[in-house]
Structures are given as C-alpha cells and as structure tokens.
C-alpha cells in the first residue's frame, strides 16, 4: 500500500456507475441514501441494529467475485465495491420479495390506518409486481388484539420485520413483545396476561412499516392526506424532544418523533406522544372565571383583567408572588418576568415548586449536552431522579450509550432505577446523604476510599476505579423528601472531578427556559443576577425575592396580597402539602393562569385566566441542555384562551406600563438584545436549527456554595422516606389525557423485604405511614431495589399524596410504618 492510500479516510464505492465516497464501516444502505439513492427497506432502521429480516433491500453487489444479490442493510461498504440498485436482477429480487411479503398480507388498505403513509403500500407501488399469483387461503388471525392499553396489533398485516420487537428489547429494554411460534405461524405477541406496558410503546407504532400496530388515540381519526403538520417541540418534560405535530380541522391528532441527532433520535415517551390529548380535553378552560360566593363562574376578559389589575395596583411589591411558569414558552416567560420584575417590581418569582434545584446548581456549573454525556468511552454519574420515570427520551439515549457505546454509568441514587440493570455501579446512599457519598467517590478517585452514607468503601472504590474519560453528572432531585441542599452539596463535591460537565435533570417542560428568562428569585433574563440590571426593564428589584417555599410561608402568615399561579399546582406538587394548603388559604387574591383547572385552582383561585396550550402558540422552548427549539402554532386556542405573553402584556397595559411586546418574534428580538447568552439566537439561526435547535451556552451565575448542612441520624424505629416521581401520576395534564389517565398506579409504600420482618408486616398489608407532619394510608409492597431502612412512596400517586408527610424545612423525612 502506498502512503497516500493509507491516509485515505473514505471508502470509494461505485454506485450505479458513479463513484461515491462512503465512510468506513458505513452500511451500504446508508451510504447510498446519503448520495441520493434510496434503497427500499422494511426492517432496517438507522437507530437500531440491522437484522436483515425482510430482504427488501437486496441489491446487486460486486466485491470482486462477480455480482451477487446482497442485503444492503447488512453489509458495510468496501473499497472498490460496485453496486447496482437498478439492475434487472435487483428489480426481480425486489419484485419477488414484495410478492412473498404480500402472500399473507390481507390487503385491507381501505380500512387500515396506515393507508396513505404505508411503506408497504408505497414500495409495492414503486417496486412491486402489481399482481399476485397467490390464490391459496391466507393466514388468519383475530383482528386487532390490544397488546396494551394504548396499542393494538393486527397480526394479519404484520410482515415480521422485527422493528417493534427490536425496539422493545434493544432500545427500551422492555422485552414484553416477542416473536412467538415459528414458520407460517410466527407472530408478534405478548406473554398471556402480560401486556406491552412500556413507557415507550408508541414508538413501535411509529416505526411499524405496515398497519399492524396502531395506537388508540389516532385509530380511525384521519387519513394522512388530511393532516397538516409542523415540526415543533414536545412540552411534557424538559428533554425538548423534537416532534411533528399533525392536525386536521383545527384539532391536534397525532405527534410523531423527529430524528434530532442531538436530542431524541426520533423516539418519544408515550407521555410526550399522547400528552396532546389533554389539550383537546373538554375540561380546557375556555373563558376567564371569577369566584363568586365560593364558586368559580365564567366571565369576560374585560372584567377579569380589571379584577386582576385592581388586585395588583398599588400593592407593595414584596407582597406579590408568582409561582410557576415552566409551562410557558420562552417568549411568554420573558413577558411575565418583565411584568413581575420590571413593572410590578417584585422579585418573588419562582418557576419551580420547591421540588427543583437552586439556580446556581443549574446555571452556575459547567454544563454538558446529551451528546457529550453519550459520547463513547465516557462516564455518566447519575445523582437525580430515575430518567426512565422522569425524562423518557433521555433515558433511551443514556440506555443506548451504556449498552452500545461503552459509556460507564455510576448511579448514586436512593433506590434502584430503570438504568440499574445496565449500570456499572449502583450505589444507594441513605436518603439525605448523597453528598457524603459523592464526596467519598471523589476521595476514592484520589486513592482514599472510605465508607460513606451506608455504602461500603470497597463498593465506592470499585465505582471510582471504573470512571473513564470525562464525566457527565446528570443532576436533579432524586427524592423530594430530602432537601435540595443535599443534591447541591453532592454536585459541588463532584465538580472537583476532572473535565466534569453537568446535565440538568429538572423535569418540568420549559423550566430551563424559565431560568434563562429570569423566573427565579435573584435572576434576570440571560442567566444574569439582579445586580447586572436589565436595560429593557423600567425597574429592577434590588432585593433578592422569595422562592416558592418562602412565598407560601409568607402567604400563610398573611404577608402576601397577590399570588399568581402561572400554570402551577402547589397543592399537588409542593413537597409539603400542609404548607401549600396554608399558603394558598392565607394568600390575598389568588390569580391562576391555566389551561386546565387543577386542584389548587379549583379550591383556591379567585380569578382564573385561560391560557393557550403549546400547540396553540408560536414560540420557543429551552431544553435541559439549554437548547432552544421552535414550538409552532398548529391549532387555535379553545374559546377565548390566550397566549400567556398576551395576558402579561394586557395586564401591564392596564397597570399603565407598556411591555413593548407585539409578537413572539418581537419578544425574541428583545431577548437577543437583552440577554448576553441569547445574542446568537437569531431568526436565521432558529431556521437553520429547525431540527436540532440552537444551543445556548455561557452564564454569569456563580457556582453554588456548600450548604454546610448535615443530615441527622434517624432512630431505630423509623424509616427514611424516599419520595420519587413515577411516569404516570395524578398530574392534571396526564389525568386529562384519555388514554393515559388510567395508567397511574395507586399509591403504595415500597420497602426492602428485610424490613418486613422487623416490622412484622407483609406485602399487601395496608399500613399507616406517620411523619412529624402528617400521615397516610397505603398498602405495602416489597422490592429489593429499595435499600433496607428506606421507604419509597411515589409522589402525587392516586390515593394519597406523599407530600402530606413532608416538611419543606427539614433536610430529610423520617416515617413510622404501622399496621393500619
């Protein structure tokens, strides 16, 4: 070999007579597609392993031994390869494969949901025989069988491409569907009485190349040619998955995942995918409401806004509070910050509900992107919630990185998570002591291994030894029953690791946008502190205001005249139900700006202003990496509901100020001027980042400082509480989604089985759980994934809310478990 050939970094392939350069190791099917030649396929999916099941991608390949038909999804390109995708042999093969695939296919396209967007239909037209010679009886199965609460399977239509089963097994790790039987009887199916209850089941519907898998929310709703669509961003959690929103006759009917390389790779959690149902719900607020004699009654915008203005006018800014805002677009968040901080002059604004992290921990530490975390050969340390429960699409990315790319995962979590089976090390500290464990891990890296937080030194040393390459810390609140300070202290300890980056695991839809837009005490738009000031604001508060917990405490003691709930439900979400109740009851006027009525609105709001949903407004969202991507209006809001920024602008006008905002674009233009970090967020950049978004980096927020708090030891009779979120809960949006509402499991208390003996109780027994704050009743469940000495209760589960047990001012919550 000559030196020149050695240096060549591409592989030359002759494709249909033209020389192309392919990447070494690239599959022929991909190389051809990149160069404009689409090879038909059914089973191949670029985000999954090739299996060569369907043979649709056969092409004539000559690697020096003469031309032969080869599946292009199974062979990597080779130097000097000659490929013919249009030869007679190729065409005959495609024709034949299709004829075979159609032998048992029912050809029921007129009644099939896939009709019009069906790869089998399309490719049969493009490459198929046009006529069948098969006159025998086709295979028959009961038509569609539900394989889960949401997904239906029509086995007659299935062409056994292995996409759904591969997704379930390889991508999601939920091997609940599988090929059963063999030969002519081969079929996809579940185990009897064990449904395909995967948080990610909807993806199989999207990737099924025929109409075999359909999802309940879309069945028989529309034909593809009736749909209008736009690329947008999912709003359910903070991953910011890119989606296509499809609508017909002014109603959103379906969301599909878009393959954004830096974000979700085309995958969605079912909650992201089907969450739009809540927006179509009959419960949507369509007109303002005002409380008259204790009841909420519909009213017009004029009187409602007048009432709101009356409440806000001439009030001491320190006695006004705004809780929430993570639901809003960046533009609406900016408008509300401008109203609150610049017009009303209050710094009591908090988009988080006491269940998140202080600003410094999110904006003051070096940040990492999802792709950085998932770069082969690196290490991810999880100090936060179970991504499978909270951030579905991120879970799939992390899972892929660990399983396929050799990423080392170390968990420092209070219980087992959805990633534990693939984690290199799962260390479970005593609740409230993850900071000690993190510090011990850092010590162990420098050779000083010692016991910490109930985890033995050798386990910590082994974890430390497994760290390779730069570290990404996925940082969030694993349990709302322990204070945020513990998580922050853990982050500070881990920030000493070399080349460390942090990926925030705050979960609420646009909570990172809210922080970037200044919706936290002490913060202004652009990741700057109050003292940096803001030219576009008439005034800027001088004193750092209160966070949600402090606001509720102030309200409880009668020190808050107006409380604005900006798409928030403190009663359900604040990890101290007692405080939330006292705060809402004690606040002067409670104004709720909401899409759907929630527990707090229904019981405490004096005034409700109906807000438009994410599919009903133009704007942008910011994800957990700081990536800004477009959300585009697809449908009009119900009734007279309005975009949140309009409501802020209207209120400002009535208060004699002008926010100077006319449209989302005008707000965006102002943000780009005001915020030092958003300068590059131009309309051109957004258009170029139509799929991938625009990553916003940099921050003037300082790193957090150690809290110095220590967690008290618990007595021998109590268990330490872990309150963690589950994908499906009693949340307002979820409960308003017809097909997801029933999926939330009712509350239970999960203990390590070894604790059962100590307590003399059994799984299934209904117990009373008592804390210093309150008590609840729930049945017991056993799980070795919960360490002995801990009690795990999901947050906001149907039945009883664990928040009744939690005291927001305590660093941990200890509970007694007794027979009820």
């Amino acid at each position: 070999m000559t030196a020149v050939e050695n240096e060549k970094s591409t592989v030359t392939v002759t494709l249909n007579g033209v020389e192309i350069e392919a990447n070494p190791g690239e599959l022929l099917i991909d190389a051809a597609e990149r160069h404009g030649t689409y090879i038909p396929r059914f089973c191949y999916h670029s985000r999954m392993k090739s299996v060569g099941m369907c043979r649709m991608c056969l092409v004539e390949v000559d690697s020096g031994r003469g031309p032969a038909l080869q599946p292009s999804c199974m062979i990597p390109v080779g130097e000097g390869m000659t490929v013919d995708t249009e030869s007679e042999a190729t065409k005959k093969a495609q024709d034949g494969v299709l004829e075979f695939l159609l032998i048992n296919h029912p050809l029921d396209c007129p009644v099939c949901d896939k009709g019009g967007e069906c790869p089998l239909q399309d490719q049969t037209v493009a490459f198929g025989p046009g006529e069948s010679r098969f006159v025998e009886e086709k295979r028959h199965y009961e038509k569609p069988i539900p394989i889960s609460d949401t997904v239906y399977l029509d086995r007659e239509r299935c062409i056994l491409c292995d996409r759904c089963t591969r997704f379930a097994d390889d991508v999601a790790g939920d091997t609940l569907i599988h090929f059963m039987d063999r030969g002519n009887s081969t079929q996809v199916n579940t185990f009897p009485d064990e449904p395909f209850a995967s948080y990610f089941s909807g993806n199989t519907v999207q990737i099924c190349p025929v109409g075999a898998l359909t999802a309940k929310p879309y069945r028989f709703k529309a034909r593809p040619w009736d749909l209008e669509e736009t690329i947008s961003t999912a709003w359910i959690d903070s991953v910011g998955s890119r989606v296509t929103i499809q609508s017909s006759r002014n109603q959103v009917l379906r969301l599909l995942g878009v393959d954004a390389d830096s974000v979700n790779w085309g995958w969605l959690s079912d909650k992201e995918r089907f969450g739009f149902e809540a927006l179509n719900s009959e419960d949507r607020l369509t007109a303002p409401m005002v409380r008259v004699d204790g009841r909420l009654e519909a009213t017009g915008w004029a009187p409602a806004l007048a009432a709101a203005t009356d409440a806000l006018r001439d009030v001491d800014p320190a006695r006004i509070g705004v809780i929430g805002g993570a639901r809003l677009t960046n533009e609406s968040q900016y408008a509300w910050t401008k109203l609150a901080k610049g017009v009303l002059g209050t710094d009591n604004v908090d988009a988080q509900l006491g269940d998140g992290l202080p600003v410094e921990a999110v904006l003051g530490l070096p940040r990492a992107t999802i792709n950085q975390a998932c770069t082969p050969g690196r290490t991810v340390i999880l100090v936060g919630p179970d991504p499978k429960e909270d951030l579905g699409a991120l879970f799939l990315r992390l899972r892929h990185a660990v399983v396929n790319d050799g990423t080392t995962l170390i968990e420092l979590t209070p219980t087992r998570t959805g990633l534990s089976t693939i984690a290199a090390h799962s260390l479970h500290p005593k609740p409230g002591e993850v900071d000690l464990l993190a510090a011990a891990l850092v010590d162990a890296v420098s050779g000083d291994a010692h016991d910490a937080a109930g985890v033995p030194a050798n386990a910590i040393a082994a974890a430390a030894a497994s760290i390779s390459g730069p570290v990404t810390v996925v940082l969030g609140r694993a349990s709302v029953a322990e204070s945020a300070a513990v998580t922050v202290d853990a982050a500070i300890a881990l920030s000493q690791l070399e080349g460390v980056g942090f990926l925030s695991a705050l979960r609420r839809g646009n909570v990172h946008g809210a922080l970037d837009m200044g919706m936290a005490p002490g913060l202004l738009p652009g990741r700057v502190p109050l003292r940096a000031g803001c030219d576009a604001f008439d005034q800027v508060p001088t004193e750092v205001g209160m966070d949600t917990i402090a606001m509720l405490e102030a309200a409880a003691s009668g020190d808050l005249d107006v409380l604005v709930l900006l798409g928030s439900d403190p009663l359900s979400d604040v990890p101290d139900a007692d405080l939330a109740e006292r705060g809402l009851a004690g606040a002067g006027t409670v104004i709720a700006v909401e899409m759907l009525p929630n527990a707090s609105t229904l019981t405490h709001a004096d005034l409700v202003l109906p807000a438009a949903a994410p599919t009903e407004v133009d704007g942008t969202f910011t994800n957990l990496e700081g990536r800004v991507s477009v959300a585009e209006q697809k449908v009009t809001p119900p009734g007279t509901a309005r975009a949140d920024w309009m409501i802020a602008a209207e209120l400002a006008l009535r208060l004699g100020a002008d926010l100077g905002v006319e449209s989302p674009e005008s707000i965006r233009a102002e943000i780009a001027v005001v915020s030092p970090v958003h300068a590059k967020l131009t309309e051109t950049a957004l258009a170029d980042g139509r799929v991938e978004g625009v990553l916003i980096s940099g921050s003037s927020i300082e790193a957090p400082t150690a809290s110095g708090s220590t967690t008290p030891a618990n007595d021998a009779y109590s268990l330490r509480l872990v309150a963690a979120r589950r994908m499906y809960d009693n949340g307002t949006m979820l409960q308003a989604s017809a097909s997801s509402a029933g999926l939330a499991a009712s509350v239970k208390v999960t203990l390590n089985p070894t604790d059962f003996e100590k307590l003399g109780l059994d799984a299934g027994t209904v117990v009373k759980v008592i804390s210093g704050r309150g008590e609840l009743m729930a049945p017991l469940a056993a799980d070795f994934g919960v360490p002995a000495g801990s009690a795990m209760i999901p947050t906001n589960a149907p039945g009883s809310n664990v928040n009744t047990l939690i005291d927001a001012s305590a660093s941990v919550t200890d509970v007694r478990v007794e027979r009820a």
């Binding site: 097994d169 091997t175 599988h178 059963m180 063999r182 185990f191």
Partner: protein, 209 residues
C-alpha cells in the same frame, strides 16, 4: 407462583451456573420445566424468566420456536407418525389413520385419559426404515398396523419400559464437575481473541503475501 420443585430448582440453578449469561440457560430450563409436568406451563415460564433475568415474553418467544416444547397439556406418550414422502409411499398415512382409529382421536388430539397424543409429523430422518414413528422421540421402525396396536397395548400395560414419559430427557440432568466446564466467558468479558480468529488472520495474511 413458583413452579419448580425444590429438587428441580436446584438443578435449574446448577444449569444456569454453566453459562456466562443466565439467559443462555433458557432452552435447558424449558426442558426441565417440560420434564416436570409433561408440558411447559405459563407459571413455569414466569419462573424461568425470573431465574434467567429476562421476561416471560422472551422465554415463550424462544421456546415456542421449537416443536418439541409443548405449551398445552399433551399425553404422557406422544406418538409422532411420519407422513412425509418416503413414509407416505410405504403406508405412513394409513398408519396414522390406524392410530387415530385405535385411539379414537384425531392427529393433534389427546386421549381422554391423558395417555396418548398423536401428531402428524414431517420427515423424522429415518426414511430407510419407513414407515416409522416416534413415541416420546424413541423410534419405532417399519411398523405395521398390528405392530402399532401391540405398541399401544404395551404402553397401556406398562410393558414399554424403554419409553420414558413425555418430557423426560437425560442431558439437562447431567452434573458437570467443578472445573470441567468449558470456561467460556461472556463476550463483553473476553479479553483475548479466540484462537480460531487468529488462525484465520494468519491464513489471510498468507493469501495476501
């Protein structure tokens, strides 16, 4: 929900310990389950899934690929009559019809007393001895109708001592002494390239050079 008897559970653990990955033990575990009850019950598959760290769906998917695993109750004696070409030419179909008549069931069916199941099978690779059949996978060759009746009678009366009950297999029960295993490690733990690959490389180099 546990299915295996204490003794079988012990065997199951022993079988699992032979493999670098628990899941690799699925097939022998399914045999063990089938041996216990004569067929593989749903409960058995649930327990196997637990033991092998996988899901029942994967256990059933893997097992149902194989004809010899039965997922519904079958007779203690499973008679597989071959009706493929060689046997057909020499009276296989007649033999099957005779079996059906003698036992009063159709192919695929099981006698009411749970003794016999008849199956119509494809070539069982004994064409030179056609027509032939298997009883619990033990071959009976060049059978006449009378031979078949005699066989049924022998089984009924406990004289067919050479045929164990359905599901009985010897191999899964063999004990491999410690240290006598093949010492195979999981692919992700393998540090050295397998010997045969190195041999291939050498051969390839020879060709190129």
């Amino acid at each position: 929900m546990s299915y295996f008897t204490a003794e079988n559970l012990e065997t199951a653990h022993e079988i699992i310990s032979r493999y670098p990955r628990k899941k690799s033990a699925l097939i022998p575990l399914l045999h063990l389950a089938q041996e216990q009850e004569g067929w593989v019950t749903d409960n058995a598959m649930r327990q196997i899934a637990e033991l092998a760290d996988t899901t029942p769906a994967e256990v059933k998917g893997t097992g149902s690929f194989y004809e010899m695993f039965k997922f519904h109750p079958v007779g203690a004696y499973m008679i597989n009559v071959c009706t493929n070409l060689a046997c057909q030419l020499l009276g296989g179909e007649e033999l099957l019809a005779h079996a059906e008549e003698s036992l009063g069931i159709k192919a695929g069916g099981t006698t009411a007393d749970g003794m016999f199941t008849i199956e119509d099978v494809e070539c069982i690779a004994a064409c030179t001895e056609a027509p032939c059949l298997q009883v619990n996978y033990r071959y009976k060759l060049r059978l006449t109708a009378d031979d078949l009746d005699q066989l049924i009678d022998d089984i009924r009366n406990g004289r067919a001592t050479d045929i164990p009950e359905h599901g009985t297999l010897g191999l899964v029960r063999q004990h491999i002494p410690a240290g006598a295993g093949a010492g195979i490690v999981a692919p992700e733990q393998a540090t050295e390239r397998p010997v045969w690959l190195a041999r291939n490389d050498a051969a390839a180099e020879g060709r190129e050079g």
